[in-house]
């Protein structure tokens, strides 16, 4: 095809990507936005395949394998496992950029023909892509709760990361300015970057995963943009930088929601500070309750706020919650959901789960909207949330989560905390809410507990 037409088609694809992302920022246009994005991709792929002579067999094989695997994963995944899947796809995008950069070096007439800026872009494409890949795999493992990946920290970890990063950058600089050895330098850099990605993510706590996933998302876009520089292709640069920017904004939103700097997240400074009160002291006055008792409380309640957390996802309790909400509404009770921005393992995780259970999103209230009315709630039900409702964030400036905005469930007349045990959340600090005068603990599996409460309500 005439290069001018190709460029025009790429421009159309880029515009579709912009419209797509724009659409994804409003509930009413989101589905259309996603379709625009997919259409843009289709246009870009078709245009690329028209004209030049290709090794078709390999292309078809690659496309077929990728399509089938992508379809299977996307269809089979449970909504609760969405964060893992997104992390995994992120990683695949990253490794693809690494491989393309490697293929470019191998396929050129000789690396010495490649100019310096292009070599620099190749190095960056490989470096960012690889870190994204191994980092995403670790994030995937952490989200799957693989025990082996839990809280791996060792002395000198930051120093090791720094050394690895310096080595990677050093090799990147070497390959940029010594074209003749660029292939060697590139393939020395890639394994080091793999290790770097692992160590960067492995020490980050689970509570920070929403930030990490958003950041890796941004990286995968940047890697694609760098690949665009390598190949001199505008559509890659445009699409890649759009993703890079969107990931960065989400990262910023998540950090703000936790009142933490990006640096604090990346260097894993969230650690329990060995609070002076031991968990035993704090939990001396915990009152445990039963589903029947909670049902009685709810019968008399005018306004109930449910605050979900990752525990709801683990217990797959969203449908049970919907039934309870329906039941309470039928009893004339006003019901709302208080959603903390970083509840769950990925930005907006709770919204997706509650939507899956057909809970109208008008009932989902953001933290800033629900907090001012929290003292008018008769009952607040905390379902598998922990750090995001810990009043220590407000009261103890020494705490690891000091200053993090929380949902003020402690201000409700009664708080019912549904949880398996008194174990701390990801921040690893005890929660005095559990022992507050107005708090009742309902120990057990989130789903079973909600089902029991609903049943008790129906029986009465």
């Amino acid at each position: 095809m005439n290069p001018a037409w190709t460029d025009l088609a790429y421009l159309v694809a880029a515009v579709l990507f912009i419209l797509g992302l724009k659409g994804l920022t409003h509930p009413r246009t989101a589905v259309r936005g996603n379709l625009y994005g997919a259409l843009g991709m289709l246009v870009a792929v078709i245009v690329t395949l028209i004209g030049p002579e290709f090794g078709w067999g390999l292309i078809i094989a690659g496309l077929a394998v990728g399509t089938i695997a992508g379809l299977v994963l996307a269809i089979k995944i449970e909504m609760t496992a969405m964060p893992e899947l997104v992390a995994l796809f992120n990683g695949f995008g990253g490794i693809a950029s690494t491989l393309v950069a490697g293929a470019f070096l191998a396929g050129s007439d000789g690396p010495s023909d490649v100019d310096t800026p292009t070599l620099a872009a190749t190095a960056l494409s490989g470096l960012i892509g690889t870190v994204t890949f191994s980092g995403s795999l670790i994030a995937f493992g952490k989200l799957r709760e693989l025990k082996a990946l839990k809280n791996i920290r060792f002395p000198g970890q930051q120093a090791l990361n720094a050394v690895l990063a310096i080595l990677c950058v050093g090799l990147a600089v070497w390959m940029t300015f010594d074209a003749a050895n660029s292939i060697l330098a590139y393939w020395l850099m890639v394994p080091l970057a793999l290790v770097l990605g692992v160590f960067l993510v492995v020490s980050i706590g689970g509570a920070d995963m929403p930030v990490v996933i958003a950041l890796l998302n941004s990286y995968s876009g940047l890697a694609a943009a760098m690949t665009g520089f390598v190949l001199g292709n505008n559509v890659l640069i445009t699409a890649g930088s759009l993703v890079g920017a969107s990931g960065l904004i989400l990262t910023q939103i998540m950090c703000k929601a936790m009142n933490r700097s990006l640096a604090a997240v990346l260097f894993g400074t969230l650690q329990s500070t060995g609070s002076s009160d031991s968990a035993d002291d704090i939990y001396a006055n915990v009152k445990s309750t039963s589903a029947d008792e909670v049902a009685m409380l709810l019968e008399d309640a005018q306004r109930v706020v449910i605050v979900p957390g990752y525990g709801m996802a683990v217990a797959q309790a969203q449908h049970a919650v919907r039934d309870l909400a329906t039941r309470l509404t039928a009893l004339g009770c006003e019901i709302e959901f208080g959603i903390h921005p970083v509840a769950g393992r990925m930005p907006g995780h709770m919204n997706v789960l509650l939507a899956e259970a057909d809970i109208p999103y008008e009932l989902l209230k953001e933290m800033d909207d629900i907090n001012p009315t929290m003292d008018q709630a008769d009952v607040a039900i905390v379902l598998g949330a922990n750090d995001t409702v810990n009043p220590v964030a407000r009261t103890d400036p020494q705490s690891a989560i000091a200053g993090m905005p929380i949902i003020d469930v402690d201000k409700a007349r009664t708080v019912v905390v549904i949880k398996r045990s008194l174990s701390p959340g990801f921040a690893g600090i005890p929660n005095p809410l559990f022992a507050a005068d107005n708090a009742l603990m309902l120990f057990g599996d989130g789903k079973a507990a909600i089902v029991d409460i609903t049943k008790a309500l129906e029986d009465s």
Binding site: L236, A239, G247
Partner: protein, 88 residues
């Protein structure tokens, strides 16, 4: 020229995504993730005729990974969004 495109696209990205409701954080992330699979175009180009064997091997792997990212990413986003749309 390429650098101009890069910087402008970042600005456009920032401009269109600054105010996004939390409800859509996950779909936006997963949708933009699918778009980052644009590297598929790069992967396809590596298999233009005349590619060395190494380039072919790397290229076909890149195509498979990027396609997974693209196909899976858009589909999963669609699944999520259709849940949001159902009621109303």
């Amino acid at each position: 020229m390429l650098l101009t495109v890069f910087v402008l696209a970042i600005f456009v990205g920032v401009e269109i995504i600054t105010k996004i409701p939390p409800t859509l954080h996950t779909p936006l992330m997963s949708g933009s993730n699918a778009i980052s699979g644009i590297t598929l175009i790069g992967a396809l180009l590596t298999l233009e005729q005349g590619a060395t064997t190494t380039a072919k091997v790397l290229g076909v792997l890149a195509i498979a990974f990027a396609t997974m990212n693209v196909v899976g990413g858009f589909l999963v986003t669609h699944r999520m969004l259709s849940m949001f749309r159902k009621r109303k």
